[in-house]
Amino acid sequence: MSHRSPLLPLLFALVCIGIALYPLVGDAFYVRLAAKIVVLGILAMSLDLLVGFAGLVSMGHAAFSGAAAYVVAALINKAGVTDLPTLLAASLATAGVTALAIGWISVRTSGIYLIMITLALGQMVFFFFHDVSFWGGADGVNLDAKPVLAIAGIELIDLSDRTVFYYVALACLVGTFVLLSVVLQSPFGQVLRGVRINEGRTRALGHDVQRYKLAAFVLAGLIAGLAGFLEVARSGFVSPAHLGWHESATVLIVVILGGMGTLVGPVIGAFALVFLEDWAAELTDHWKLIVGLFVIAVVLFLPNGLVGPLARSGGREGLGKALARLWNAPARLFGRTPAKRRDDLPQESAGDA
């Protein structure tokens, strides 16, 4: 890529600076919205590890983040714990164990079975928090306090502060991005890619794919736990709806919308969906109608997400080409080129017969 335009890194840097400085200049409402996007972006990125990179379509992802959020709420409200590292560790442990359990049952299957089983097991977690009265019932619970990081009585990080929260969440997003790009470039990531493209052959080459799939579930679950922790710290509220399958499906939409199999896609998707919901909700009480029609339109007309058509216009001249390069660069760096739809491939790729 010797002919890469110097414009690209410049633009990228500008966007980054814009995102980083936004809370200092932006309107309070939009800073909150931006924080929401960042948290949803982390959750969607973790799901993309499963869906886009390993080809494991999970419909129970919200169970991981939701369970983490509930444990944070219980620790704060019932045990009075506000120590940030303790709460964070508890979130990660909860989500990780949940992912290990659900993953252990799910990864022995694939395709349609995996979708149905993760959906059903996610609902099991939903009913656990919904039915057992200890967790606060169907209406959810409000946090009595927010997580605080204090050393020797000095408050270093207080997540109830809007700007502080934004930067912490942003740091987590960047951290997740770096972590996943490292993992995906490692031999582990190579095997996950093999699982997605041709699971049977990857196994025949000597890889215990079950184990890799389970590890991917746990890793994705841990990151989802981080997102769950941030979400409950952001909104100060958690309800069973946070771990229902509608939430899982929404995260999946975010991944597809942005472009699965890339790490920037889920963040772009989160951005688009949060703004769409915000706009639609102002327009009408029946905003879900708009979201539903939008989802249908995306599936029918934008199967590769927002990143897809831009990457695909690579052959065209002028602006299209520049844009294509802009989008292609991160896509190439951090994942597969998203222009490839699964059914474009030859029959052999259909996997183990």
């Binding site: 079975y113 109608l289 599936v299 739809r341």
Partner: protein
């Protein structure tokens, strides 16, 4: 209180719920087995059926007339959706089918909310079937619930008859075992898919209608039945009608008795059961 009669009632309730689940799940598993489509919106058609029954019953004043009108309306709606949307998804990854049907759930849910609001509604039991059977001095069993079971049995037998003895059934069996076979045999796949999808929607809507006097109508009823139907399909083995039947019975009884013995964790029982079955047989009990 007569303990025997109490348990008899629970068993009857469980079996009736099982039959209802079977109607919904058989449509789900048929549509998957033959068309290769994961239809999350299946529960939404159940809900639409129930609300149509509620509306038509109020308009016509006759529950059975509401049934007779409601089923064709739902099937027609299903076919329109099939033509507009699903035809583009047959060759696509399951992921997109899932998301498309999720979008459909949101749309149908909002349409329902616009037409009928978000309140909980009830449908009166038709006068003809409003009686009860006395089991003991204190225990009675409503006739309508027996009617629900009977109607489901009739539908199940009819479904079995169609699949076993008709030309359509032959096509269904052929394509369930080998999807390419139908094309090889020169059958019209498009029409087969339409019929199967219409059948699935019809079964779901019918189940929603006859269940409406027993259960209340509420916005999330479609989601609830959908997820339990998924559990039924997963336990029975995806694509297997026989599996769907036994799994539906199992789940119907497990759910009913779960509520009796473990009221605090009633919702979890069904899923725990599914998890256990899957640990034992990852592809379900009756997977081919």
């Amino acid at each position: 209180m007569d303990v025997g009669a109490y348990y008899l009632i629970q068993i009857l309730n469980g079996v009736q719920y099982g039959f209802l689940l079977f109607l919904v799940a058989s449509g789900l598993t048929l549509v998957f087995g033959i068309m290769g489509i994961v239809n999350l919106a299946h529960g939404a058609f159940y809900m639409i059926g129930a609300y149509l029954a509620f509306w038509l019953d109020a308009v016509t004043g006759n529950f059975f007339l509401a049934l007779a009108l409601g089923v064709p309306i739902s099937v027609l709606l299903g076919l329109v959706v099939e033509r507009i949307g699903f035809t583009h998804l047959y060759r696509r990854d399951h992921l997109y089918q899932v998301l498309f049907t999720f979008g459909l759930i949101l749309v149908l849910g909002e349409v329902r909310s616009i037409l009928w609001g978000n309140d909980v509604h009830g449908v009166d039991v038709p006068p003809l079937l409003s009686g009860s059977i006395t089991l003991t001095d204190t225990q009675v069993y409503p006739v309508y619930r027996l009617f629900v079971s009977l109607a489901c049995v009739v539908m199940a037998v009819a479904l079995g008859g169609v699949i076993r003895y008709t030309r359509l059934g032959m096509m269904i069996r052929a394509s369930a075992s080998n999807r390419e076979m139908v094309q090889v045999l020169g059958l019209d796949v498009n029409r087969l898919f339409m019929v199967v999808f219409g059948l699935g929607v019809g079964l779901a809507a019918f189940a929603g209608m006859i269940a409406s006097p027993v259960n209340s109508l509420h916005p999330s009823m479609g989601d609830e039945i959908l997820i339990v139907s998924f559990v039924v399909v997963v336990i029975g083995g995806v694509g297997s009608i026989v599996g769907a039947f036994w799994a539906a019975m199992l789940i119907g009884l497990a759910d009913t008795f779960g509520a009796v013995f473990l009221p605090e964790a009633a919702g979890v029982v069904v899923y725990a059961l599914m998890a256990m079955v899957l640990v034992w047989r990852p592809r379900g009990l009756f997977a081919g």
